[in-house]
């Protein structure tokens, strides 16, 4: 008697109740998502690969097949090579400066001190703002006539630097804004990670007389490793798609010194309606994303 009851309930317990009524669900619930996703994500990605082999202005059908010529032009283009280097630099700064800064702040605001919550919110606030707004605000701060640098220069009575108009300085100015805007996000991830560490480890370490650094090095860092790997992953993917913030700051200039892959795609592919060439940029971006994402996941995130 009890056995038959268990048997009857078993499918339900396994969470896969096989019963009538699955067909209407499949027919009603899946197609909207499938349609939207296929039409606006998967097909365009496939088409980017297809169009990248053509010289095409977007009207009529792509007919002028030119093989890999677009890619050849792309890698010969100095502005694109600059863009690749800038994307690499952005990635490097995000990992080497932003993440340690975020981690340091996360450990500080995780103390039970008055005002900790307010500090967290203040640090997170720039992340909530649109990149465009952040870019415009900093365009003012960097402005050689009105901004912070102008004020500092006039205080010391020297000629004011036009940071964003200087092709050697502009990229560092951009990097500063990136760190300003995004460190709070990583800090929040780390706070969440820190909260999940069992306090008894620290108590035990204190009993053993471990210094603050030893506790950080031997408890916090290893236990936070999954969060750090995740944070690095977000930095990498995020730095590849940087566009919104660059446009108000420099638009990729001066003389292409702050170009990223996406700003390059915009100014060389989209505004000139070079669909084939622009799609080639998209394909390169795609390949870099796949390689980094899968490579990174395979190497570092296997156990997470």
């Amino acid at each position: 008697m009890s056995q038959t009851m268990i048997a009857a309930r078993a499918p339900g317990i396994r969470g896969r109740p096989r019963n009538k009524g699955t067909l209407p669900v499949l027919i009603l619930f899946l197609p909207p998502a499938l349609l939207v996703f296929t039409l606006f994500v998967i097909l365009p990605m496939g088409e980017a690969a297809w169009y990248s082999l053509y010289d095409w202005n977007g009207y009529g059908l792509p007919e002028k097949f030119i093989g890999l010529k677009n890619f050849e032009l792309l890698f010969r283009n100095g502005a694109f090579r600059q863009a690749l280097m800038n994307n690499g630099l952005i990635m490097l700064v995000s990992i080497a400066i932003q993440i340690p800064l975020a981690l340091w702040l996360a450990t500080m605001v995780s103390h039970r001190i008055p005002g900790a919550v307010s500090f967290r919110l203040i640090f997170f606030m720039p992340y909530v703002l649109a990149d465009v707004a952040a870019g415009l605000i900093w365009r003012f701060v960097y402005d050689g006539d009105y901004g912070l640098f102008a004020a500092i220069a006039s205080f010391f009575n020297v000629a004011s630097p036009y940071v964003l108009a200087d092709k050697n300085l502009a990229i560092y100015a951009v990097l500063g804004v990136i760190v300003w805007k995004y460190f709070g996000f990583h800090m929040m991830l780390f706070i969440a990670g820190l909260q999940s560490i069992d306090k008894s480890y620290y108590e035990a370490a204190e009993m053993d007389g471990a210094t603050r650094w030893q506790r950080f090095r031997n408890i916090t860092l290893p236990l936070l490793a999954p969060t750090i790997r995740l944070s690095v992953f977000f930095s990498v993917i995020g730095s590849l798609q940087l566009f919104d913030m660059i446009m108000p700051l420099t638009g990729g200039g001066p003389s292409n010194s702050t170009q990223t892959m996406v700003t390059f795609l915009y100014s060389y592919g989209i505004t000139r309606m070079k669909v084939g060439f622009g799609s080639a940029v998209g394909v390169v971006l795609f390949v870099i994303c796949v390689t980094l994402a899968f490579g990174y996941k395979r190497i570092f995130m296997r156990n997470d």
């Binding site: 209407p24 169009y51 203040i122 640090f123 701060v141 929040m188 798609q241």
Partner: protein
């Protein structure tokens, strides 16, 4: 007694740690030395100042005259000029931009919630041929920025006759957010106790009614999370509307603010007032609903 054993145990390896250990015992009772305290607050205040200074300068700068701004970009205004702000608030432009952003964001949220929740429900509860494959198909979308397919996307939207319409922006936006939304929903739905479903089945309730009457009412937290992510992404988005809209009357605020800056680029005081007013809704909502927003924006990261 315990004190002695610790000292004894520790002295084997590191005899010199006795003094610092005493200090940390005080620390462990959540009191810290004055030096530590000073270091902590000085650092936090410094970073908070760096975060807030550009924002405050922007807001205060909107109350200045151009001449005042030039002489004194960071102090309080000589004379508070309200007309910069009031003129913008009295004009139609500002409200129209915010209205456009709101329409696009609300449509995106509704469509995302509907489409993603339904798809995730099938993935969570119905086992069918190819379900694993299909789920992975959607998860591909997590990895790629819109930029990879932006030109083919433009051509698709144009050929569908959706160029320069709200839906033309909404559909790709929803599509690129689907992967993350489906993932978040599915995780949540899987954790709804299966006994509920069994009970509903006994009462003759099919999948669709179960979804509508039981799953959805239980899913308010995840609906809020996914909704917030979709809303913030849409509210701040720049690249898609930049390419898919060309009538200024339809521009959402990130685009509108760039146009405004282009028009009044020499009148920084107006631009600053405009920036302040456009980011004001974000900041108000952020502080009003900070818990939900922080949780929402880091949810994908923490749970993914």
């Amino acid at each position: 007694m315990t004190d002695q054993t610790i000292i004894a145990g520790k002295s084997l390896t590191e005899p010199s740690v006795i003094a610092p250990r005493r200090r940390r015992e005080v620390f462990s009772k959540h009191r810290m030395s004055f030096v530590t305290w000073l270091y902590l607050y000085a650092s936090l205040l410094l970073i908070a100042a760096v975060v807030l200074l550009p924002l405050l300068t922007t807001a205060v700068g909107g109350f200045k005259t151009l001449g005042d701004l030039r002489v004194n970009p960071f102090g309080l205004p000589n004379q508070w000029v309200w007309s910069n702000y009031l003129d913008i608030l009295a004009g139609a432009r500002y409200w129209q931009m915010l209205g456009n952003s709101l329409i696009i964001a609300v449509l995106s949220v509704i469509l995302t919630l509907a489409v993603a929740a339904m798809a995730a429900f099938t993935f969570a509860h119905v086992k069918f041929f190819g379900s694993g494959f299909l789920l992975n198909y959607f998860l591909i979308g997590l990895m790629f920025p819109v930029a990879t397919a932006i030109l083919p996307l433009f051509i698709r939207i144009r050929d569908l006759g959706l160029l320069d319409t709200y839906w033309g922006v909404v559909l790709p936006q929803v599509a690129f957010g689907l992967g993350m939304s489906i993932m978040l929903f599915r995780k949540f739905f899987q954790n709804v106790p299966h006994e509920l479903f069994d009970a509903a089945q006994v009462d003759g309730c099919g999948y669709i009614r179960y979804f509508w009457h039981i799953t959805l009412p239980l899913s308010r937290p995840i609906l809020a999370t996914v909704g917030i992510v979709a809303f913030v992404n849409s509210w701040n988005s720049y690249l898609l509307p930049l390419i898919l809209l060309n009538t200024e009357g339809k521009y959402p605020w990130p685009l509108g603010i760039m146009v405004y800056q282009g028009e009044f680029s020499t009148d920084w005081q107006l631009v600053l007032a405009f920036i302040t007013l456009t980011i004001l809704p974000t900041i108000i909502v952020f502080f009003a609903a900070q818990k939900h927003i922080v949780a929402g924006l880091t949810a994908g990261a923490v749970k993914g």
